[in-house]
């Protein structure tokens, strides 16, 4: 029968994304990474008010959440945003969107039956 989100199964790691973006500083880091093409830790640290070590930690979390990817080149590591990392959030909402869309279709059928 009708079962909300019964099509679940896939391990959508939404909480990792949520956790990664819950921290305001980390979110600001993500925003800056996403704002440009590529950026290094040193560039991110400049004017940020936090240490390079802290920025590196934030980048690590963002990387683990699939929100940024890194590209080492020589001594530098360049970071860029990975917008696909946000799709778990959309997928999660999608379960409910699909659920309600199906409900409305069924409601239409029920109404036709009880009020022809």
């Amino acid at each position: 029968m009708t079962n909300v989100m019964s099509m679940n199964a896939e391990p959508i790691d939404i909480s990792a994304v949520m956790r990664a973006l819950a921290d305001p500083t980390r979110r600001a880091v993500f925003e800056r990474v996403a704002g440009g093409k590529e950026i290094t830790v040193a560039e991110l640290t400049k004017g940020s008010g936090v240490t390079q070590g802290a920025i590196s930690q934030h980048l690590k979390s963002l990387k683990q959440a699939g929100l940024v990817i890194e590209r080492p080149e020589g001594r530098n590591v360049y970071y860029r945003a990975q917008p696909e990392g946000l799709t778990p959030l959309a997928d999660w909402m999608n379960h409910y969107s699909a659920f309600w869309r199906d409900n409305f279709d069924r409601l239409r059928a029920v109404l036709r039956e009880i009020d022809p």
Partner: protein
């Protein structure tokens, strides 16, 4: 006229809603019955247990458990305004879950409005908390906007 959309409430909270708005070629009375009668609810939504269309009534929907969550969606009737509005709290999930079965504290609101061709039913499922704030999502936004657009363009089929 129908559509399904995901909208964000950027000003106040980091919450997102799912909205479906459709016109049904039926009177408000029959529509009201379909959304507030337990047996009928069971035929198009899920079968409620212990439901009565009375403010304060607590009822449940039973679905697949996940992790520490027993699969029960715990609901509470918040508003019953005959032929106009029906709202209930929709709570479930567990903080330990990711994706399916993650913690939810949401509200489902049905609003009815008589129109020439029948009755317009708007369903808003609100209170999905997503991690975002205005600047982060406005500035970096492309990925997110794309996601939201994908959802927003999922049109509910009429008929």
């Amino acid at each position: 006229m129908n559509n399904i959309a995901v909208k964000s409430d950027m000003q106040s909270t980091d919450a997102t809603s799912i909205v479906i708005d459709e016109v049904f070629p039926h009177g408000a009375e029959v529509l009201w019955k379909a959304i507030t009668n337990g047996d009928l609810m069971g035929r198009w939504m899920m079968k409620p247990t212990g439901f009565e269309p009375v403010v304060g009534n607590r009822f449940t929907f039973q679905t697949t458990p996940a992790g520490a969550w027993d699969g029960f969606i715990r609901c509470e009737v918040l508003e019953v305004l005959p032929l106009e509005r029906f709202a209930f709290a929709w709570r479930g999930g567990d903080e330990g879950n990711v994706g399916y079965g993650s913690k939810l504290d949401t509200v489902v609101t049905f609003t009815l409005r008589r129109v020439q061709t029948g009755t317009r039913l708007r369903m808003e499922h609100s209170g999905f908390v997503l991690p975002k704030n205005d600047t982060a999502y406005t500035n970096m936004g492309k990925g997110w906007v794309k996601c939201v657009q994908t959802l927003s363009t999922v049109a509910a089929e009429q008929n």
